[in-house]
């Protein structure tokens, strides 16, 4: 009897603590959402608050009407995320698959080649010099896709381990006996078997591309190539920048810029897709974190 109470008490205690922690974790995010719906004058006199004196949709109205820059930045981010994730999944699985084949001659040397990138790097300075001086990607869409994220050792090993544990040599052997080429085996047999691990690395990679601002910070100076994150950085420093893209678009160019709330509305728009999509993909995310942590 006593033990049961002890367990129940602890369960109640755990629920209470975690509820508190969850509320503390979510409150900062809730503040920017509320701020984005707050009336500009109320914001200026009372600051960002959880219970604003007056509500308003002006920030979003402004963004929709004057948001040529924003739509463009959204487009850039979506394009970069799609192309980057697709290319990344293709390159990563293609590199990981031979590494998982036990009778592939260069298996060990290839694994070391990938692994060494985790141990040592040349640093951002030489990487920056290479991308700008040799490949000339500054101020191009390539600058947002190519540097850093396309193939990472972490993802390659994640996929390689998945293949090593889930693909039986016998399937491959029987396909070889039937005369299938290696490329055909990869495409027709391996790819369909990869769905769970591809889901995991796509999610990781898409998140990285969606949230990336570093490549933009280093390689982009022209606003036409700004993704949503770099546009956010720009308007944090200078909210008036939003006006530069409006140029009387739809004839509302003279509308007052609600600078204080518009900043937060922009941030909300930046995280909206993540919040909408994430609940459906959480299990892949968590699986990937666990598998990746155990053996990177």
């Amino acid at each position: 009897m006593f033990r049961l109470t002890d367990e129940k008490m602890f369960r109640g205690f755990a629920t209470f603590l975690l509820t508190t922690l969850t509320v503390i974790t979510l409150l900062p995010i809730i503040l920017i959402v509320i701020a984005s719906f707050t009336d500009e004058t109320a914001l200026i006199s009372n600051g960002y608050a959880y219970f604003p004196k007056a509500w308003s949709l002006n920030a979003y109205y402004y963004l929709i009407n004057q948001g040529k820059l924003i739509f463009r930045a959204y487009g850039v981010t979506i394009l970069v995320t799609l192309v980057g994730t697709l290319a990344s999944v293709l390159f990563t699985t293609m590199l990981a698959y031979p590494m998982s084949r036990k009778n592939f001659k260069y298996r060990r040397i290839l694994s070391f080649f990938v692994f060494f990138t985790m141990l040592f790097n040349g640093g951002i300075v030489s990487s920056y010099m290479m991308w700008t001086n040799i490949f000339g990607i500054k101020n191009s869409i390539w600058a947002l896709i190519l540097p850093n994220y396309l193939v990472t050792a972490f993802n390659v090993f994640l996929v390689r381990n998945y293949y090593a544990n889930n693909v039986h040599e016998s399937i491959i052997e029987s396909a070889q006996i039937d005369g299938a080429t290696e490329l055909r085996i990869f495409w027709k047999i391996i790819m369909p078997l990869s769905v769970p691990v591809v889901a995991t690395i796509s999610l990781f990679t898409a998140l990285i591309y969606w949230n990336d601002w570093l490549n933009g910070l280093y390689y982009i100076t022209k606003s036409e190539y700004f993704g949503i994150q770099n546009l956010l950085i720009k308007i944090m420093n200078n909210v008036q920048f939003l006006k530069s893209g409006s140029s009387n678009f739809l004839g509302v160019g003279n509308m007052n810029l609600p600078g204080t709330s518009v900043r937060m509305a922009m941030a909300v728009i930046g995280i909206l897709p993540i919040i909408l999509i994430y609940p459906f993909l959480q299990k892949y995310f968590i699986k990937g974190v666990i598998v990746g942590a155990v053996k990177g």
Partner: protein, 309 residues
């Protein structure tokens, strides 16, 4: 898992086509990761934009001498202190959260809590910088406008120009973003503990807290040691976003917010001092390399299965 031991027989497998499949990835890693490794010679040059990468004059160790005479102490101290704090507090909080989660027992509740605690980890540092701004901004920030008034002290703080608060702010932000993520790994290892051990303890009359103290935490020890060692291996690296976006790159705060990574960025992009930032980056890479190798050697001693290599 079936384990068929056969003779090393490459059978029908030809290496050529497989290598060809791997080629795009190999080329990418060669360009993105290996070519810059050879670029570290920039740290030994007096870089000039006119003369270019190869034409610039060599200047031996001067970049390093200058770096260590000037800023090295501050940026290394900041990087190390922050990382030590993050490792210690991050581990403690992650374990507490993981233990609490595993005590809930009910799947649905776990999912709700876990999703919420993970949410900050999915936000970009830029957005987190915005959230920080909503709280800390001197004129319209929540803390100056509401919290300080509520507490009755009435003294507004210019957060973005007062360095002494930032070690606390950055630690809070770090924990806020990362606890949910790092607790996942500890949850996984707690759920891997044999349930019958807890049953036996219960029969012996051990209370929940005693079970945690004498079973859960000792069983987590290998995971804690390994994750800590891996973090120590990366102790010379800092999360650039945390130290650049959250303080809004405010120059007044450099004393407490500048780490090796933000220093390299300033040198490269703002001061255009290529030689010096290359020197700092190379120093970071080399020390980082040594530390990772050392950490791994220690991990292998502790638990061979979890060594990286």
């Amino acid at each position: 898992m079936k384990k068929v031991i056969k003779k090393k027989n490459r059978g029908l497998t030809k290496s050529g086509p497989l290598l060809l499949i791997a080629l795009p990835g190999i080329i990418y890693l060669f360009i993105n990761n290996y070519i810059p490794m050879f670029g570290v010679f920039l740290a030994f040059k007096d870089y000039s934009y006119v003369k270019g990468i190869f034409g610039s004059d060599w200047n031996g160790l001067n970049n390093f001498k200058y770096l260590f005479k000037q800023d090295a102490f501050l940026i290394i101290r900041n990087t190390l202190l922050y990382n030590f704090t993050f490792i210690i507090l991050g581990t403690i909080f992650a374990i507490i959260v993981a233990i609490l989660m595993c005590e809930l027992g009910e799947k649905f509740r776990v999912k709700i809590f876990q999703s919420s605690l993970l949410l900050p980890n999915l936000l970009s540092w830029v957005v987190i910088g915005f959230i920080g701004y909503a709280f800390l901004n001197a004129d319209t920030g929540f803390i100056n406008n509401t919290l300080i008034k509520l507490m009755g002290s009435g003294k507004e703080v210019a957060w973005y120009t007062t360095p002494k608060y930032w070690p606390f702010i950055l630690t809070i932000v770090y924990l806020w973003k990362n606890i949910g993520y790092s607790s996942i790994i500890y949850m996984a290892s707690i759920s891997g503990i044999d349930k019958s051990i807890f049953e036996a303890a219960k029969i012996d009359g051990a209370k929940k807290l005693e079970q945690i103290k004498h079973i859960t935490i000792p069983m987590l020890k290998p995971t804690i040691i390994i994750l800590t060692l891996m973090a120590v291996g990366r102790i010379f690296y800092s999360d650039f976003g945390l130290f650049y976006q959250v303080p809004m790159n405010s120059g007044a705060l450099y004393k407490t917010t500048q780490t090796i990574d933000t220093y390299v960025y300033h040198g490269l992009m703002e001061l255009q001092d290529i030689g010096m930032s290359a020197a700092a980056a190379l120093y970071q890479s080399v020390v980082g390399f040594v530390l990772v190798i050392t950490a791994n050697a220690v991990v292998r001693k502790v638990d061979n299965d979890n060594a990286l290599f």
